[in-house]
């Protein structure tokens, strides 16, 4: 039916709120910097097995620990292993834990919060009471306990970390959904006759995404810190695998003689966390303004 499409052929293009937010984000230099660094780190992590200068296990006991040089850009550790390679492999683990655990927290938290927020009433009260109790539990203590008790299982690590972070995600999602539910356009959707499922899908979730995206971006560094913390205590990643947290803890032991073993992994971790935080802050600023009101 030609006439049908022709009716709106000369319609002007609209500028959605996402588009506006993207434009705003682009102008934020710090956020762009953070985003680029993060992208770089992720690409390097993905390509590590092919681009690392040395193999992960390669040791050079004659060389021992040596400061940065032409052959080893970031130096070597006491076994003669190339530090740059170690950092690259460690990064794979640290970033993986960060993204995966956050994803776990995201899925659980968003679903929980959306249901509690939309259904409201008793269901909401019960669901959030549970969250409150879990929230009040001193999780750090529990995680330490869990890791000691059940051994150093990387899967358990993901779950444990995810279990801590989903709570705040649930709270944010619930408060978003609650405030959206009272918005008049949701009432309008009800009066038009949409089913609750359709309303949540089409009207609530797209508008709740903003803070969720921001919070997710800020959860990743928090998760990475948690993993590093546990590894530092000896409770997280175990050798032969490595992570930035482990590298830092080794480096701290010998920092007097070989400071580069502490400084370089430290830089890698700090730089990544920086980038994530700048990106998250930038996203928060870009998505915050809802578009002009009259």
């Amino acid at each position: 039916m030609n006439t049908a499409t022709q009716i709106f052929d000369d319609a002007e293009k609209g500028s959605s709120l996402w588009h506006d937010a993207w434009l705003r984000l682009r102008k934020n230099k710090l956020a762009l910097f953070g985003g680029s660094v993060l992208l770089f780190m992720v690409i390097v992590a993905l390509l590590t097995p092919w681009i690392a200068p040395y193999s992960y296990e390669a040791q050079n006991l004659d060389l021992g620990a040596s400061p940065p040089s032409a052959a080893h850009w970031l130096g070597t550790d006491i076994f003669g292993r190339d530090v740059l390679t170690q950092i690259m492999y460690g990064g794979r683990i640290s970033l993986a834990v960060g993204f995966i655990a956050t994803a776990v927290a995201l899925v659980i938290g968003v679903t929980w919060g959306a249901v509690a927020g939309y259904v409201g009433g008793r269901v909401d009260a019960v669901m959030m009471r549970l969250v409150d109790i879990l929230y009040a539990l001193p999780f750090m203590i529990f995680i330490v306990l869990l890791m000691v008790v059940f051994g150093r299982n990387i899967l358990l690590l993901f779950l444990a970390i995810g279990a801590v972070e989903w709570l705040t995600m649930a709270r944010i999602m619930r408060s978003q959904v609650q405030s959206l539910r009272q918005q008049e356009f949701v009432e309008a959707a009800v009066s038009v006759g949409l089913s609750p499922a359709a309303i949540i899908r089409k009207h609530v979730v797209p508008n709740a995404l903003g803070p969720i995206i921001v919070y997710t971006t800020l959860t990743i560094p928090s998760v990475m810190l948690l993993e590093a913390f546990l590894s530092f205590l000896g409770l997280g990643i175990q050798p032969p695998a490595t992570s930035w947290g482990l590298l830092i803890s080794y480096g701290a032991e010998t920092m007097e003689e070989y400071p580069w073993l502490l400084i370089f992994p430290g830089c890698a971790l700090t730089l990544t966390l920086f980038s994530l935080n700048f990106l998250g802050d930038g996203l928060r600023d870009a998505l915050d303004v809802r578009g002009s009101k009259d």
Binding site: T5, I7, F8, S15, S16, K27, S191, V192
Partner: protein, 528 residues
């Protein structure tokens, strides 16, 4: 010599989107012991002019481009921040629109009240509190002593505004600037506050600069009116001259937009489409607390083809009544029947099928549209949901809707935030009409709009009602608007139905005291 003489004032705002000239060569004056009113819609620059004089416009992004503002022999614009600060609160005082947000919620009223005294006159706390209490009494606060140790949220809107006025007058300024002081208040309270301001002005010999968007309100009290549009002064003069003989087309437009006159009284054939019996809608915010009886035992009939105006102030329950009919809030008791069918009995599927017969238009045109859906999406949704058109006919149907509500077709792919308030309301009206309903609840559909746009939307609604043969429940707090559009009126107060009758009858011979006080409070007696 005038108390305040503003000459060729220009103020711009420099933002990353460009420079906007908010105030462009504006001149006006306030004589001693007189009230000058500045009238304008949003974006006219009326508030910015006054804030700029007092140095209250944040300096980036605001910028004073030129002009003078002479007050008591000094040019305010040439003064330093320290000198201006000495004048603010002492010689020139301000009161603002929303007294809830304008009083510090964390400080007791008494502490806020004595600040101008202790600051400018160096009074000690004791004597300052004495003066403050005397002033609270003067502005009509019943228990000045108690009020001093209360917090703002413990008071109603009207009382808070009285406190603001007391705080402004405590240093006996020569000039009072009032920025939309009654806009956020209920109609009856508005009348009280206006009276108070007029009394105090005479008693204390002060000049008042009264900013408003409402010509009717200021016609009662102003000695001089200045009309602003888009940053420029388009006309100024005495009220009588402005109302009888407006020169500038914008002023004429403003005057024409004041809702006036009465709808031609077609006799309404009593044929109830909607029958409400003993409706109760109660809310219990926290378990165990006393319920809020938003709608308390209301019985009402709405006849086919009529526009019933539902009037009340905030807290009267009028919005809740509308929402109860539409099953947007659960009823606590009573019955509502629509075309003979009992609404409370409908659930799930049958309710959904019923919904297309009644729709709602909401008050806030921005909040009632999903910001992430284009006009196309918003209008298509109800059409597709109720199977009223197939894919082929969809675009045709949307085009028709847009034409009917006066939206340019080229805008169909745009998002709500790209439109003005009036246009957004048109989209909302289009959505309500999409399912060809028999009954529409319009909940304060024009209250959030500028006066000139308000008139357009009211005309649109009146036309559409006739064209589509709609029955409408028109909810508003604005009696003048209701008078223009409604066939019959129902008055609500604290959840109960107080009076009901044909529009002409209620306006000419109100039966109840409350109705009478509402009618008396309508501003603009002098304008008619």
């Amino acid at each position: 010599m005038a108390l305040l003489n503003v000459d060729n004032l220009s103020v711009s705002f420099v933002t990353r989107n460009g420079t906007n000239k908010a105030v462009d060569n504006v001149s006006f004056s306030v004589e001693e012991r007189q009230i000058t009113a500045i009238i304008g819609e949003s974006g006219s620059g009326k508030s910015v002019s006054c804030y700029a004089m007092l140095g209250l416009v944040p300096s980036p992004p605001g910028r004073i481009d030129g002009g003078t503002a002479h007050f008591q022999g000094q040019d305010l614009l040439a003064l330093s921040e320290a000198e201006l600060r000495a004048i603010r609160g002492r010689d020139i005082a301000m009161i603002f629109q929303d007294p809830m947000t304008c009083l510090n919620p964390f400080m007791k009223i008494g502490d806020q009240l004595i600040e101008p005294l202790t600051l400018h006159k160096g009074l000690a706390k004791g004597p300052a509190r004495e003066q403050a209490m005397a002033l609270l009494d003067e502005v009509g606060i019943r228990d000045p002593q108690g009020a001093m140790s209360a917090f703002p949220h413990e008071f109603s809107g009207g009382m808070r505004q009285r406190v603001m006025i007391a705080m402004a007058l405590i240093n006996e300024p020569k000039l009072l600037i009032a920025d939309e002081p009654t806009t956020a208040l209920d109609v009856t309270i508005q009348a009280q506050i206006l009276k108070l301001i007029a009394e105090l002005q005479t008693k204390r010999d002060i000049g008042v600069l009264f900013i408003s968007h409402d010509l009717a309100v200021v016609s009662d009290i102003a000695d001089q009116i200045v009309v602003m549009e888009k940053g420029k002064v388009v006309e100024s003069g005495q009220p009588k001259a402005i109302f009888d003989n407006p020169q500038h087309p914008y002023t004429q437009k403003l005057l024409a937009a004041i809702p006036s006159g009465q709808k031609a009284a077609d006799t309404v054939v009593p044929d109830p489409l909607i029958n409400i019996e003993n409706l109760r809608t109660w809310f219990t915010p926290t378990a165990g607390a006393a319920p809020v009886k938003a709608v308390d035992d209301v019985s009402l009939q709405i006849h086919r083809g009529e526009v019933l105006g539902l009037v009340g102030e905030s807290g009267s329950g009028k919005s809740t009544l509308g929402r109860s009919i539409l099953r947007l809030v659960p009823m606590t008791g009573g019955q509502i029947s629509f075309d003979g069918i009992e609404l409370s009995a409908l659930e799930g599927r049958s309710l959904k099928q019923f919904r297309h017969r009644m729709q709602m238009i909401f008050q806030d045109p921005y909040a009632s549209l999903n910001p992430r859906m284009t006009v196309y999406d918003t209008l298509a949704e109800p059409l597709l949901l109720h199977g009223l058109v197939n894919k082929a006919g969809l675009e045709q149907a949307i085009r028709e809707l847009m034409d009917n509500v006066g939206l340019a077709r080229a805008f169909v792919r745009k998002y709500p935030h790209e439109f003005s308030g009036g246009q957004r309301q048109r989209i909302a009206i289009g959505r309500a009409l999409a399912t060809r309903p028999e009954f529409i609840v319009a909940d304060e559909p024009v209250s959030a709009l500028d006066v000139t746009i308000q008139a357009q939307i009211l005309d649109l609604l009146a036309d559409l009602t006739k064209e589509y043969g709609l029955t409408m429940l028109f909810i508003s707090h604005d009696l003048a608007v209701i008078r223009q559009i409604a066939d019959r009126i129902a008055v609500m107060y604290h959840g109960k139905l107080v009076e009901e009758g044909a529009t002409a009858q209620v306006f000419e011979t109100p039966q109840q005291d409350y109705t009478r006080s509402l009618l008396d409070a309508i501003p603009g007696a002098n304008a008619a």
